[in-house]
Symmetry: C2
Subunit: 269 residues, 2 copies
DNA sequence: TAAGAGATTTCATTATTTGAAACGCGATTT
DNA sequence: AAATCGCGTTTCAAATAATGAAATCTCTTA
């Protein structure tokens, strides 16, 4: 529709965790865009606060360098997205509660097309703790939280999503489409997902599905930490409170069926 | 530079906390943009994930409604901005430490042109607690944290900023430019700012300046909560640890002079 | 001091954006 | 059931903005 805008906004995707600072030349090369075109678009993105040029000290004077980084405007807009998500208000108290019972990081994830995205977190207070970030993206096939989202999609949609290449993030990242399907079936049957070193080496997470009023799994909630505190042998100890919380949140989202796992714990609370 | 893009991105500013959902017609009217133009821009913003159309249930079928809201892409990009801010990594452990000593919300703010913006927070664990949001904006003249940023700017820059109208947020929001200047002088002299019901009725915050390697106050750190736990009479009890933390963070940012308040506490720690 | 690297500007050409008007379509009214 | 209304969407010729090769500027480096 508006080619110019779409082209310009694609440039923001270059700014990742791994490389958060770019020069005009790099951008022009990488985006295969003539330099003057890239130049003008970058300027506009700076004008609206989506990018900013880093500051540089030059014999006492402070000047703008030729390096662009993401601007604070995006932080602001990101915050507004977050605050508009009703689920966060609903889920946050329960996430806090889980965290205080278990003292591990608790995370809430939803799906954005072919990726999971972390929309809320509560941190553990342990001295060594896992740090995830709101807004972080992860593929649907790796990690307990995201795989939970994947597992409850219709089969044909899963098939479609799994046509994308499977990247290897850590030692236990599933390697093939078959691996992923096996894990999906396991998740569906057990009602939770467990992951160990799938997205990040040495981290573990346990996730359960949250259903919306249409009975779709729109969110998943997980506990994440390290193998010492979350060993697979003890998994039930963590899954049961997760089911409990997931079932309450599901109900608050308008899910009317009994939560299908954990012996319909909803009634207890 | 790129008129089209700038015009299109301005539309995102309509999506605020107060009104986070807009129809084409509303946008066209509000932005004074012909409907087909707005239409095409909105479509493009949806294409890149900056906006999304809310879903609607229509006799069993799920369709896209004509309401636009901010998209998850912005959450993602916002997270990336945050992670690129070196200060957060530096400050976060000390913020945690403050929080565990005092058990009130701790916040880190920086300036984005004429506004303050919250870039990190640690929450209190009290049952009733203040909730601020990363990415939240606040004017520089109201609230302890932002006023601290304002107070250490050069006078002419302050004068410039105070040419903007002063809005009234709560019962103790400063009303006039003179009010603000009086508070600025107080802040400069005392080395901290105290606010009570300036931005939000019934909340209190206490803030101290963080200096960068150029000796500018680039950030401020604050404790925020309610009057019962943060009474003005006890302010020193909170200011001293804030100075201590602010001085350590300043040093880590390359500030080489002794921190000018709290009897140069840096040496103690 | 010259050469090099990268950012900016120029300007004629080309492609995109523009918006009034028409159309489509479901909801509401007659 | 037909007519009307309210909005979203499409059309299309005119107007505008984007484009990019080449020139220029501005530091940095040899």
């Amino acid at each position: 529709m508006s080619k110019t805008m779409e082209k310009g906004l694609q440039l923001l995707d270059l700014f990742t965790e791994e490389k958060h600072s770019w020069t005009l030349d790099e951008i022009s090369t990488h985006a295969e865009m003539p330099k003057p075109t890239a130049y003008r678009m970058l300027r506009s993105l700076v004008n609206v606060g989506f990018l900013q040029r880093t500051l540089l000290e030059k014999n006492g004077k402070i000047i703008e360098s030729d390096n662009y980084v993401l601007g604070l405007k995006l932080l602001q807009l990101g915050g507004r997205v977050a605050s508009a998500l009703e689920i966060r208000e609903i889920a946050f108290p329960y996430m806090k509660q889980l965290q205080s019972e278990i003292n591990e990081a608790v995370q809430l994830v939803t799906r954005d097309n072919e990726n999971g995205i972390y929309i809320e977190k509560v941190e553990s207070t342990r001295p060594v703790r896992l740090y995830t970030r709101i807004g972080r993206q992860a593929p649907l096939y790796a990690g307990a939280c995201t795989r939970t989202l994947l597992s409850y999609l219709p089969d044909d949609e899963i098939t479609e999503i799994l046509k994308n290449p499977i990247k290897n993030y850590a030692s236990h990242t599933p390697k093939t489409v078959e691996d992923v399907w096996a894990l999906i079936h396991k998740t569906r049957q057990e009602g939770f997902a467990y992951s160990h070193s799938e997205l990040e080496e040495g981290t573990v997470s346990i996730a359960t599905p949250i259903f919306n009023h249409r009975g779709e799994v729109q969110y998943s909630i997980s506990i994440a930490g390290f193998p010492v505190s979350l060993p697979i042998e003890n998994v039930k100890k963590f899954v049961v409170p997760l089911w409990k919380v997931a079932s309450i949140i599901s109900k608050k989202l308008g899910y009317n069926d009994p939560y299908p796992y954990g012996d319909n714990i909803t009634k207890i609370s």
